[in-house]
């Protein structure tokens, strides 16, 4: 089959991963042709969008290609985490998720852009330049997994993996109009994921629809003997089919839905989705997460930087990565880290080092760990009454490049709504629920630990009812 006839079968903008797998299975296209189709799409659109830090020309499997966020170590393929300090670093081993993708026959199509060390909410903090939103290239795709989310929306990958510490899968999915899952902490291996904050980091799928998302999750989830914080899934992943929500109890946390800074267009789209859920048979009620929302952000910006300050200590110019020479070992390390890290990692390393240092530990890190307990308890109480909690994923639609870049605190507020559930290790699914000002609005579904199947069922039913077109208007 020639290239021209492939492109008539493979509309990368519309094709879901499940459909792509069907094409390969029915031998309508080969895996190599599929791979080529996405490379062609990238050749056409990536110069503008900059979703990829690098592409892989030769497929290493016959299945549906997958894009991996550049914090995911890939044997023999440069992995930089969006940082200059890892420029040229070529992992000599595969992360567990990369290995599982390979084992499932999914060739890696490329490594996607990310805020440096996954620290950011706009992908503007990448040392290699920002990614742009396929819906409006003047705007950010969200972050830190903006590269993965934008690649899926722009038809440059059928699906992708991201990593989420405080919202880095859910928020870019919301801003790019696709489906993203932050899994329950411990269900996906972190082995080989360039660490940001170990007690929060979690890898998850980004896809065009909920079924693809569930399918990719099923390929990567489950205990890994190389990550002692992982567990076996209590039940297998079920691909969602039904379109009704009878019997489902949906809670609407007041604070997550009425927080200051939520744009009216976002509220409208989310409320429409909640009404749809009711019409599909769900019971909807109000609930409260007062301290989770009020203190969640502060808690996160103590714990995550503290862990990051320690996780990023290994970038010392000794064994790999950038080295800037000095007269002494110490001088070399200080210069390497000064030159190698961008502003945001430096800020967080400083903040985290301060929060852990003698005299401040109890007031900052210690207290934040207790707040974390409070957050977990509030959510547990809500889940005694509800199966799923809903809210906007992001308070705003995609914002303009540069709009928040100069003000770290304003940028941190982008994750206000995603952070609380992350602190409690809970799974969260973003499902597009409409447009506001022509830009996608994301609905956040949060469930108790290990409730991914419930989230998929809810998300799938809503997705069918909402009928959101995931292809950016300007690319249709």
């Amino acid at each position: 089959m020639g290239v021209s006839s492939v492109s008539s079968v493979v509309d990368t903008l519309r094709l879901t991963a499940e459909e792509a797998a069907g094409l390969v299975e029915r031998k309508e296209v080969t895996g190599a042709e599929l791979h080529r189709a996405y490379l062609d799409a990238a050749a056409e659109r990536d110069p503008e969008l900059h979703c990829y830090l690098r592409l892989v020309d030769e497929p290493n499997g016959d299945g549906v290609p997958v894009a991996l966020k550049d914090v995911i170590s890939t044997h023999g393929i440069e992995t930089t985490a969006g940082s200059k300090i890892l420029a040229g670093y070529v992992p000599q081993f595969d992360s567990t998720v990369a290995a599982r993708c390979k084992a499932a026959g999914l060739p890696i199509i490329g490594k996607t852009n990310t805020d440096e060390f996954a620290m950011g909410s706009s992908t503007e903090n990448s040392a290699y330049g920002p990614t742009r939103n396929p819906w409006d290239p003047e705007r950010v795709p969200g972050g830190s997994g903006g590269g993965s989310a934008a690649a899926v929306s722009a038809g440059l990958a059928p699906w992708a993996l991201g990593s989420d510490t405080g919202g880095s899968i859910k928020q870019p999915s919301a801003l790019c109009g696709n489906v993203g899952l932050r899994p329950t902490y411990g269900t996906v291996s972190r082995y080989g994921i360039v660490a940001f904050a170990s007690s929060l980091d979690q890898v998850g799928p980004v896809a065009k629809n909920v079924r693809d998302c569930a399918l990719l999750y099923s390929l990567i989830a489950g205990r890994d003997e190389r990550d002692s914080t992982t567990v076996e899934l209590p039940e297998p992943v079920r691909l969602p089919e039904g379109e009704d929500l009878s019997g489902l109890r949906i809670g609407v946390p007041k604070e997550l839905n009425e927080a200051e800074g939520i744009e009216p267009g976002v509220t409208t789209a989310v409320q429409n989705a909640i009404e749809l859920a009711r019409s599909l048979g769900a019971e909807v009620g109000e609930c409260e997460l007062p301290r989770s929302v009020e203190y969640g952000l502060a808690c996160y910006y103590l714990i995550a930087p503290a862990e990051a300050s320690s996780n990023l200590a290994r970038y010392d110019g000794v064994r790999y990565g950038l080295r800037v020479d000095g007269e002494s070992y110490r001088e070399m390390v200080e210069r390497t880290r000064d030159v190698g890290f961008g502003d945001e990692p430096k800020r967080r390393i400083m903040l985290g080092t301060y929060a852990l240092s003698a005299g401040y530990f109890d007031a900052f890190y210690g207290q934040a760990q207790k707040v974390r307990t409070v957050i977990a308890r509030e959510h547990a109480a809500a889940f005694e009454r509800f199966d799923v909690l809903v809210s906007p994923t992001s308070p705003t639609v995609a914002f303009k490049l540069g709009e928040k870049a100069a003000n770290p605190l304003a940028m941190y507020l982008s994750d206000l709504l995603t952070i609380p559930s992350c602190m409690a290790g809970l799974p969260g699914l973003n499902v597009p629920c409409g447009l506001s000002e022509g830009l996608p609005v994301g609905l956040q579904l949060i469930g108790p630990q290990f409730s991914e199947n419930t989230l998929f069922r809810t998300g799938h039913a809503l997705e069918q009812a909402i009928g959101f077109d995931p292809v950016p208007e300007r690319l249709r």
Binding site: P91, Y191, D227, S228, T229, A306, A313, R314, R319, S357
Partner: protein
């Protein structure tokens, strides 16, 4: 004023597990530089630690042997510091929740059992090996660059911290000998200071005798034998006493002990105080040893060296008992005595004539026969027998059949010849150097090809030279 030394020890023991603490690289010497390394122990981006079950069990076992309580929960923490030997930029170590706490070890001494408190025993990982190269003096200060071998990084390490309960260098040495023997008998480490599988730091202070205060202490490092630990403590105690007696104050400091000169060198104090920013290791979950596991490990403990010393002391003096136990020879001693031999000669013969390694292979009943016949058979035959005694199937009988020459008629002429040939030694002996008796006996034994009965020769020589 008389002063009392106050010493606490910090001991690091490398466990001889097959694999490292947090990765499955082979543990121990042998491989070429950096060949026993992997993503985890090189701290490549994304690598994660997974604890070694055996290392955890051995830590508990050691703690139990030291009379420790095993808390319900132990937690690994990160100790953050930058150094090329620390690839992650932190060491994983138990911090506020260690595996073993609040133990004690009884150290027998002439004044009765002396109790040394074990504050804690916790599990951590060793650092890499850094070599300093170049520079005129060859010392670290003059190095031009450093080289790092990561083979050692991640070796499981148990750190044992004693209370400030040791009051002499001799007690410190005895404590360490017993601790070492305990570790060796548990089979968890070779515990050899020369190889660095056992490392000792000493915290030393002094106080007026009779007082209970704890004064400023100094830390001694870099001592690589028990003897040097004792020498280092003595030197530091003397230094501190001199400081106080001159009206000065001891300043907290870390010293390296140089065994060749006996000198203490203060380490250059750091620009800033250590701030390790400990926090719970988020890549690892807590350890909660199941009660059945703790009980199983307790059941596997061998009888402790200090208990055995106490038992041996009923028949032997403390020093002999200590030598036998810390040489791993006391079980052979007890079996040989049980087989009917006299305690003191058995102890002497075992302690002086058998290698530590031979202990387990020797048949006590055969040894008892040899001990019983030691004066009857020629010295050379006894030596010959002892050199074969650890071989399988060894029988004493053929050796016992060879009576030593005790016939004075045969021995007298030989003795006369030796005395005539050594007038100088004869004069010295008669002048009071009685230790020379052994010289004459040795010469006679040599002359008779080891066949003479040493006891008889000794009596005859004394007779001839006496007056």
């Amino acid at each position: 004023m008389t002063w009392q030394p106050v010493v606490g020890l910090e001991i690091h023991v490398q466990l001889k597990t097959r694999t490292k603490m947090f990765c499955r690289c082979a543990n121990g010497f042998g491989g070429g530089e950096n060949t026993q390394t992997c993503p985890v122990c090189l701290a490549l981006p994304g690598a994660l630690p997974v604890p070694n079950r055996i290392a955890l069990e051995w830590t508990l076992k050691l703690g139990l042997a030291l009379g420790c309580e095993i808390p319900k929960r132990a937690v690994f923490a990160r100790k953050n510091y930058f150094y090329p030997d620390s690839p992650k930029g932190y060491q994983i170590s138990q911090y506020d929740l260690p595996s073993c706490v609040n133990g004690r070890m009884l150290v027998p001494s002439s004044a009765g059992d002396h109790e040394v408190g074990i504050v804690r025993a916790h599990l951590e990982e060793d650092a890499a090996k850094t070599v300093h190269v170049g520079g005129r003096t060859g010392r670290i200060g003059g190095a031009e660059h450093s080289l790092v071998d990561f083979n050692r990084v991640g070796t499981p390490l148990v750190e044992i911290v004693t209370g400030p309960d040791i009051h002499s260098s001799e007690d410190a040495r005895r404590f360490l000998q017993l601790l070492r023997q305990t570790i060796v008998e548990l089979g968890i480490s070779d515990a050899e200071m020369e190889k660095g599988t056992l490392r000792v730091d000493a915290n030393v202070s002094v106080r007026p005798a009779g007082s209970a205060e704890l004064r400023t202490r100094c830390e001694l490092k870099n001592m690589n034998s028990f003897r040097f630990v004792a020498q280092g403590i003595d030197a530091e105690v003397a230094r501190q006493i001199a400081v106080y007696e001159a009206g000065g104050e001891v300043v907290q400091e870390t010293y390296d002990f140089d065994a060749s000169s006996g000198a203490l060198t203060a380490r250059r104090s750091k620009e800033e105080a250590d701030d390790y920013r400990y926090f719970p290791e988020p890549d690892l979950v807590p350890v909660e040893p199941p009660a059945e596991l703790v009980e199983r490990l307790r059941g596997e403990l061998p009888e402790l060296p200090s208990v055995r010393i106490r038992r041996l002391e009923r028949e032997l003096d403390l020093d002999r008992a200590l030598v036998l136990v810390t040489g791993g020879l006391d079980r052979l001693y007890e079996a040989t005595v049980a087989a009917g031999a006299e305690p003191l000669p058995v102890a002497n013969l075992i302690a002086n004539r058998l290698a530590t390694s031979a202990g387990d292979a020797v048949d006590a009943s055969q040894l008892a026969l040899l001990v019983g016949a030691r004066d009857r058979i020629p010295r050379a035959v006894l030596d010959d027998a002892l050199s074969h005694i650890d071989e399988p199937g060894f029988e004493a009988a053929p050796y016992l059949a060879q009576e030593a020459v005790s016939d004075t008629g045969e021995l007298e002429p030989v003795i006369a010849r030796i005395i005539d040939a050594n007038p100088g030694q004869v004069a010295a002996y008669r002048g009071g150097k009685e230790g020379l008796l052994g010289f004459f006996v040795g010469q006679v034994l040599k002359e008779t090809g080891g066949k003479a009965n040493a006891r008889v020769v000794s009596e005859l020589v004394r007779e001839r030279l006496g007056a």
